[in-house]
């Protein structure tokens, strides 16, 4: 087990390195001088010089990578092209909002998705099962930006029930929560459907296992079999998906953050693109990728711990 863990962590470190190399060199996919092309009409000689020095564009590629890696390891993401403010501060200001949004969405998805899946699997092939199937598939096909726009239209523009913009005051939890409702629901809807399908599939698989048949043959009560034996095992694959889910939700947050004008990593990157502030784009992308990789590593390790068969299967 320990060897498996070490191997896994080693692979993750390799991936982190490659991710940093990709991000250090990504700017060169632009034909021509990246500083000039990216700054566009805003390019003044002074700004071009600042752009080039902040990204070490005057240095050879390996130095660019080495410096980017060195600074990242020291928690230095550079300074803002326009204001000179450290990017770590800019990111630190908005990151909590995105993390809260992503976790709230994940919580909502679990809250709705898992019971739906359990209900569906415990009534297989009934009309209720089919209805749940249709509902969950429809949920999967509602992209967060469509759900967000329609909610914005109905609950903010037409009914004026919920605030349309911003995150509200953190010091006022009720206000903050009211601002969180629409974005988190919009982000959670596809995941509700997805989790419902996933839980149903894995529960049905577990129901066929010998130990469940044995429990049935022994005359255990259905709900005891379901909640005490089947569900525990059926939720293991769901756990693995949730790890990937939290990362994806942080990335996908960009849509609802833009729609509801919430400060967050998504709007940060989105606005930085509009303002042609590439160092900020790069720093934001790096942070999201780091969190994503970390979440994946953690779930993988927990997953392997919960279900030791995995390490054998993956060899």
């Amino acid at each position: 087990m320990r060897i498996y863990f070490l191997k896994h962590i080693f692979m993750t470190v390799m991936v982190l390195l490659v991710v940093i190399i990709i991000l250090a060199l990504l700017v060169h996919i632009v034909p021509g001088d990246p500083a000039r092309v990216f700054l566009g009409q805003r390019a003044t000689p002074e700004l071009i010089a600042r752009f080039r020095s902040s990204m070490d564009l005057d240095q050879p590629a390996h130095i660019q990578i080495a410096r980017f890696l060195w600074r990242t390891l020291h928690g230095d993401l550079g300074v803002d092209l326009w204001t000179g403010r450290p990017l770590t501060d800019t990111i630190g200001d908005v990151l909590p909002h995105t993390i809260i949004l992503a976790f709230t969405s994940l919580f909502l998805a679990v809250l709705v998705g898992i019971p739906l899946g359990v209900f569906s699997a415990s009534h297989p092939d009934s009309w209720a099962d089919r209805l749940t199937a249709i509902i969950s598939i429809s949920f999967i096909t509602i992209p967060s930006y469509v759900g967000g726009l329609i909610m914005l239209l109905v609950f903010a523009v037409q009914l004026n029930m919920l605030p349309a913009m911003g995150v509200g005051e953190i010091s006022n939890p009720i206000d903050y929560a009211r601002h969180l409702v629409m974005p988190s629901v919009a982000l959670a809807i596809p995941w509700m459907g997805y989790l419902a399908r996933l839980v149903r599939t894995s529960l049905l698989e577990v129901f066929n296992a010998d130990y469940i048949r044995a429990a049935r043959a022994a005359g255990l009560q259905e709900h005891l079999i379901l909640y005490k034996y089947a569900l525990k095992n059926a939720l293991i694959p769901t756990m693995a998906v949730l790890g990937v889910g939290i990362g994806n939700l942080m990335g996908g947050a960009v849509f609802v953050e833009v729609i509801f004008n919430r400060p967050g990593m998504g709007t940060l990157i989105f606005n930085a693109i509009q303002l042609r502030n590439y160092p900020l784009v790069r720093a934001g992308v790096l942070i999201i990728a780091l969190l994503f990789i970390l979440a994946n590593l953690l779930t993988d390790l927990i997953y392997t711990y919960l279900d030791p068969r995995i390490q054998i299967e993956r060899k």
């Binding site: 692979m11 991710v19 996919i29 632009v30 199937a133 523009v157 999201i288 990728a289």
Partner: protein, 296 residues
């Protein structure tokens, strides 16, 4: 088997070649999905004859109007006919997603075949590259690259193609790993067949089914992904009518008219629903391991 097939009548022969479709249509939700996909396909092909108006003709006096007899679904902020824009937008949706998925499939096939069949260092290097691409949430990777390249149809296709490559490479690799252990591959190798021959003639045809399933399941995801990028202004640039840009323009005028968002949102949801139902049913039919799990 060959002679058995050739002796049958021509019609019969065609039906036998697509038994999968018949099985999909036997299931109500599969049939519904197929009907939506078919309708979507017809709209894509016959867009110029179906669309009641030109998709780019302005009618400023009638801007942001609700449904009327002239403009069945209403007009956008420049007085353009929403219905016609949605109809032409279907071409962008299908065109970009099909091209992007084809790029992902071809690149993924090549990488997957190499890493699965050769193994060793080539395999390790390819795996780390795939892991690194997947270390970014798809939207974020696309944003980072499109921010540099600028929005254009070709760039969007390339970026989506690249982002989706690891999925195909992984499935290909896993399939190659399991197929290459078969006795007939070993027999072929001991008879002196070249690597190329083994890969192309013996392995490739045997690994296609899961890739077809993946392709069918990915299409709706890619359609919404492209629309999302266009919504953020990083997809297909205006005035080309794409569903994402209709949504994004509707968002700007959300307080003036609910119609662009409503219709574009519904179109997008209905299309992805059709493709998803079709894809899921296709997976059930092609992959017996899943049969019975999705019998609605």
């Amino acid at each position: 088997m060959e002679t058995h097939f050739t002796r049958r009548s021509r019609v019969h022969n065609i039906l036998n070649r697509i038994p999968v479709l018949g099985d999909v249509l036997k299931r109500p939700l599969g049939a519904l999905g197929f009907a939506i996909v078919l309708g979507f396909g017809l709209i894509v092909v016959f867009a110029p004859s179906i669309a009641p108006h030109d998709s780019e003709t302005l009618d400023i006096p009638h801007m942001l109007e609700g449904p009327s007899s002239t403009y069945i679904l209403g007009t956008d902020h420049l007085g353009r006919d929403i219905l016609s824009r949605l109809i032409y937008g279907s071409r962008i949706a299908l065109g970009t997603s099909l091209s992007a998925v084809s790029i992902a499939l071809s690149l993924g096939l090549i990488l997957g075949l190499i890493s699965g069949y050769l193994g060793g260092n080539a395999d390790n290097i390819i795996l780390v590259i795939l892991d690194s691409i997947q270390a970014f949430p798809a939207v974020i990777l696309a944003l980072a690259v499109l921010a540099l390249l600028g929005p254009s149809l070709l760039n969007v296709i390339l970026v989506i193609g690249l982002t989706w490559t690891p999925g195909y490479a992984r499935v290909t690799r896993a399939q190659v790993l399991s197929v290459k252990e078969n006795v007939y591959i070993e027999a072929e190798r001991s008879l002196g067949a070249s690597r190329k021959r083994i890969l192309l003639i013996h392995i490739l045809p045997n690994i296609l089914a899961p890739l077809v399933i993946l392709l069918a399941m990915d299409l709706p995801v890619v359609i919404t992904f492209e629309a999302g990028l266009s919504f953020l202004g990083l997809g297909v640039p205006p005035p080309t009518p794409s569903w994402g840009s209709i949504l994004s323009e509707g968002f700007r005028f959300i307080r003036n008219s609910p119609w662009p968002i409503t219709w574009a949102g519904l179109t997008l949801m209905l299309t992805t629903l059709g493709f998803t139902l079709f894809g899921e049913t296709l997976r059930d039919v092609l992959d017996p391991r899943f049969s019975g799990l999705w019998r609605a």
